[in-house]
Every structure is written in structure tokens, then in C-alpha cells.
């Protein structure tokens, strides 16, 4: 099992979610965050040691079985881009997930995803 974490632009949230649903991925956890990506812009500030302003982003966490990882990634890539990709469009991170438990039933593992 893996945890797919995507940082996307807030205005793309609905589109990404619909894209995921189309890919039959329904379960999801979403939260607000802020971030700074693109190196070029931050370079500007370096001489002054000034922290660049943070930009608001959305974080999606999707726990999924191994064979769904690529499906999830593709669904996100498809919907999260502005035009054919703009700076700030975000990142996807994949981390290992050792265990998953459904609180309601106490099921564990792949079935609980």
C-alpha cells in the first residue's frame, strides 16, 4: 500500500476530484497548506535573505493499493495542470504505507483502504 500525496492549486481541487472519481478513486483526505516551489522566483530574494511569500495550495492524501498508485497519479496529472503545465501546478509525492485500519470495522490491510 502507498500513500499518494499531491500538492495542487486550489482552483483545481474540484477538477482533480472529479478526475479521481472517474478513475474510481473515491476515498480521499484533503487539507489546506501553503507552499513555495519554483526556485527562480525565490532566488530574487536571496541577496536580502527575505522569506518569499507563501502561496496557498491544497494537499490531497490518498491511501491506495499498489496497483492503484499509477492510476491515481495519472488522474491527478490530467486534471491539475493549467493549460499544458504552469509553474505552481504542484507536486506528487509517494510514500510507503505499512498498515491501514478502518475504524468502523477494525478491518486491516488492503481491504481497509
Amino acid at each position: 500500500m502507498k500513500l499518494v500525496t499531491a500538492i495542487i492549486q486550489p482552483d483545481k481541487l474540484d477538477e482533480v476530484r472529479e478526475s479521481l472519481i472517474e478513475a474510481e478513486i473515491y476515498r480521499i483526505t484533503v487539507s489546506r497548506c501553503t507552499g513555495r516551489g519554483r526556485a527562480e522566483e525565490t532566488d530574487l530574494y536571496r541577496g536580502q535573505e527575505i522569506a518569499p511569500a507563501l502561496v496557498s495550495k491544497i494537499r490531497l492524501d490518498i491511501a491506495c493499493n499498489d496497483d492503484f498508485v499509477e492510476i491515481a497519479i495519472q488522474a491527478i496529472l490530467k486534471a491539475a495542470k493549467h493549460d499544458s503545465g504552469q509553474i505552481g501546478d504542484g507536486k506528487i509525492f509517494v510514500t510507503p504505507l505499512e498498515q491501514c485500519i478502518r475504524i468502523r470495522t477494525e478491518e486491516r490491510g488492503n481491504d481497509a483502504i
Binding site: P10, E15, T34, L54
Partner: protein
Amino acid sequence: MKWNLHRPLGALFGLVVMGSTTAGASETYPIDTGTTAWMLTSTAFVLLMVPGLAMFYGGLVRTKNVLGTMLHSFAAMAIIGVLWVVCGYAMCFGATRGWIGWDNSFFLLSGIDHGPNAYYQIEVNGATKYIPHLVFAMFQGKFAIITPALIAGAFAERVRFRGYCIFIALWSLLVYNPLAHWVWGGGFLTGKAIDFAGGTVIHISAGVAGLVTALYLGKRRGYPLATMTPNNLVMTLMGAGLLWVGWFGFNAGSSVSSGLLTAQALTVTQTAAAAGALTWMVLEALLHKKATSLGLVSGILAGLVVITPAAGDVMPGGAIVLGILASIICYGAINLKSKLGYDDSLDVLGIHGVAGIVGAVGLTFFLRSVPDHGFGLQLWYQIEGVLVSMTYAAIGTLILCVLVEKVFGFRLKKEDEMAGMDHSLHSEHGYGLLNLN
């Protein structure tokens, strides 16, 4: 030397020079300072309803649309605020030309700024007194501002800002002004239907216009399957508080006096609002075991709307009954909406339209004194007023909807709606605090 208004107090108790260019006018047209004071205050209170409405509506939409929704109220203040001075007052209260009124001297309010027409005659304690004509014009102007702002609740979260601005400008000129002229300004309904502070002209017309726009523009994406949680009920409560306060100006100011009638209007306004709120609370407690804050403020609004046409003519007991009826019927209407499935986002029809009708017709049963021409005829006048207002508002709104949509674009594009109005239309975010900034 009128510019020296703040006289030097060194010369204590010197003479304050008149600010009027018509020296001597004050003797000929004695101002009643008390009535003037109340009308000035009322005007300010009604203005307070605009941010109040912005807060009320703004709190009910989703986070991504909060500024866009509040701007609907503020833009009305800007646009109609100018239009009213330029020509709105002339169209409503100028000498009747049938469909509208007109008076050249009302253009830019220049003819009532000074000179004999600057004085508006009232009766105080049986004597003839005057208030500045301008204060009446400004008080009425606030009504013209608030009406289109009310409609905006029906199509919240899904219109373009430019389209909206053009729509309300046209709606104000072509729907509101004629209606106000007919009922209040000397048109063919004047003196027939009782509409103390605008049940017909304001709330019913806004409610119907809301329904028409909501139907024409279609549902929000996802409605009704996806629940659309209010982003800030706390702000909606604050807004309701300001609306209640502002409504005192709205209703009690409509007496254009500062006397018994004014007090009667204020009393029934307070009473109906409380009765409406209490009723909605009790209804929810009985039906769901839980009273909600949104319910309570909906009850406040229903009570305030229902008493608006009736404020000068019913007694406190009648106000309680009207408040109760309004909440029950509006509650039903909103539940019916969920069944019918059209998307009147913030229930402009369900509250303003329905409670306005209940008030306009229902007041006949609680009149302090039945007019000489009898109860039946008056009831008919009331119904006639409602029907005229509904028909005219519906047709006018539909035409404007089509026009604005085709020529300028009214409905928001799909991606812009998904991204939210604040981002796509205004490039701003309501709550920077949500992100580290």
C-alpha cells in the same frame, strides 16, 4: 459666508449662519428638525442593511465565493447609488407619465437641492412643516439599492460580475423604478394597495426576480447532490443582527414622520421579527429536535419581511400572528423548493417572495381600522398589487436575463464556477488567514 460653519467658539454663542442659499426660505418653509433627524437616521440605518445583507449572504455561500457574493451587495451600492441620483428618483417620483414618472428638475437632484422644491411638506401635530426633500430622496434611494442586492441571493455562486452589474443596472431602471412609481410615486396603483414599506415593490418583486433568474441561469454545478456548506454562519448571524437594526429605519422611516405612526411601525417590526424567529426555532425543535442558527435567522427575516407592507396598519397582536404565519409558510416553501429542485441558492423567493405575499395579503385581516370602501375591496387591492408586481417583475426579469446572457454573458463558465468566483472573477481570497501569510 456659509463655509464658516464651525464658528469660532472664541466668540462664544455667536450666530450660526445658515447653510442654505435661499435666505429666508427657512421662515417660509419651516423645517421640522425632529422629523428630519429621524429621516436622516433612518437613511443611515437602511444603508447599514447593505453591509448587513453582504454579511448575511456572504456567510451562506462556499468559501471560494465569499467575496464575490459580498460584492454583489457592495456593487449595488455603487451602481444604483449613482443611477438613483442621476435619474432613478426622477423616474420613480417625478410627475407620472404612465409607465414611469419624470421631472427634469429631479435630474441629478438639482431642482430639489435648494429653492422652494427643496422642501417636502409634512404634517406635524396638525401644522404644516417641512423636511428637506433630499432626505426623502436619499431614503428612497436606499430602497432602490437594496432590492437588486436581494435578488443576488437567488443566483449566488454562478454569475459573472460584469453581467451582474449590467443586470442590476437595467433591472433597477426598467423593473424597480416603474414598479415603485406605480405603487408609491403616483402611478396607477398608488392609493389602492397598502404597501407601507415595500412588501410588493421590494420583497415580492425581488423574490419573483430571484426565481426567474435562478430558473433561467440554471443550477449550480453539483446542486442538489453535493451539499454546499455555509462558509461562515457566524458572519450570517452578525449580518442578521445588522439587518434587524437596519429594518427599523426601513419600516419606521417609511412613515416619513417622527410620531405615533413611526412608533407603531417600529413596534410591529420588532414584534414580528421576534415572533418569526421564535416560531422557526420552535418548528425546528418540534420537527428535528434541534433548533439551528440558520433557522433562527431565517425566522427573523421572514418576520421582518412579512411586516414590511403592514408596518403602519396592524397592531402588535397582529404582528405576532403575521410573524408566526410567515415562518410556517416560508418553512414550507423552502422544503417544497428542495422537492421541486430548482436552485434559488439563498431562498430569495422562499423568504422574501413568500413572506412578502403573506404580508401583503395577510395584513388585510389585521388592519387597525378597515378602510371605508370595505374589507373585500381592500383585499382585492392587495391581491391586485401582488399580481401586478409578480407579473411585471417576472416578465421584465426574464427579458433582461436573456438580454444580458446573450449580449454580455451572465452565467459563469464551468471552470470558473469550479474554481470559485473570488479566484476567477476577482483574483482575491476572502480569508487570507486560512493560509500562512
